[in-house]
């Protein structure tokens, strides 16, 4: 009989590798539940029945094609541009000065608009994986992770603003 620790380790690794293959959260839940349900019947070690989590996730690429490289690149470029414009816009607003001859609010709004597609991609990728048998989350995500993701850029802008004010 396979130990619960082995099952948990396999589950966590499989979720990670399926995420890396950009498999949607609901499909990840199905795939993981299939593995666990099967080994509960057979008593096998999941790695014996399905192969390593990495190999099994990769074997499913026929079913779930990864987005092309240019899609990921475009998302990263948009995210970087959005971050830069939001930062510059926020500084301009906080300092009450224009940036490149335009109001900080304009840059801020442009940055937010450019950030919508990458933000959608990030939220889709970080969607919680639920067990289709129980509806419960399969892997616990620390609550501080999402908060940290949004607080860090805000903190950088605020620290920069305070530094500029002090320097003056």
């Amino acid at each position: 009989m396979t130990s619960p620790e082995t099952i948990t380790e396999y589950r966590e690794a499989l979720v990670l590798h399926l995420r890396l293959q950009e498999v949607p959260a609901d499909r990840i839940g199905e795939i993981v539940a299939e593995v666990e349900s099967h080994v509960a019947d057979t008593g096998e070690d999941p790695a014996d029945a399905f192969g390593s989590p990495r190999d099994y996730a990769r074997s499913l690429t026929d079913e779930h094609r990864k987005p092309p490289w240019w899609w990921t690149t475009t998302t990263l470029v948009l995210a970087a541009a959005a971050g830069w414009l939001i930062g510059q816009g926020a500084f301009a607003v906080l300092l009450g000065e224009p940036y490149w001859g335009r109001s900080g609010w304009l840059w801020l709004a442009t940055g937010v608009a450019l950030g919508v597609p990458p933000a959608y991609m990030v939220s889709r990728r970080s969607q919680e994986v639920r067990d289709p048998r129980t509806g419960e989350p399969l892997v616990r995500t620390p609550r501080w992770a999402a908060v940290g993701f949004y607080l860090i850029p805000v903190a950088i802008v605020l620290v920069g603003w305070v530094a500029v004010l002090l320097a003056r």
Binding site: V35, A40, F50
Partner: protein, 113 residues
């Protein structure tokens, strides 16, 4: 008997064999694996079986639903669709024709020639 079967043969016949097992009655993965083994196809691992089941479902030949287990985790049950039955009938007929033709080309092991 199954020890000598090349894996390409198993890969070719597995989707049809899985469809045939599910068409017999609504069933779940482990039971399908047992039926395949009893039918002489050897031990089919979960890592081979579930992608086939999911592909058949994606093609609209099977449907699935989770059911609660007795004192254990739920099981995913698979059932054949009308399109699946239709596909099974057509592909089975084609498979029999194919194997008959291949048999005509191959030497008969019982022959003394």
């Amino acid at each position: 008997m199954t020890d000598d079967l090349p894996t390409e043969w198993l890969r070719a016949v597995l989707p049809l064999a899985v469809l045939a097992v599910v068409a017999e009655e609504e069933t779940y993965g482990y039971a399908v694996a047992q039926q395949l083994q009893a039918g002489g196809l050897g031990a089919v691992k979960g890592g081979t079986l579930y992608p086939v089941l999911n592909r058949l479902e994606a093609e609209g030949l099977l449907t699935s639903s989770w059911r609660e287990g007795v004192g254990g985790p739920g099981r995913k049950f698979f059932a054949v669709t009308p399109a699946g039955r239709d596909q099974l009938a057509r592909r089975s007929a084609a498979w029999h024709t194919f194997t008959e033709q291949a048999r005509g080309l191959l030497p008969d092991p019982r022959s003394t020639r």
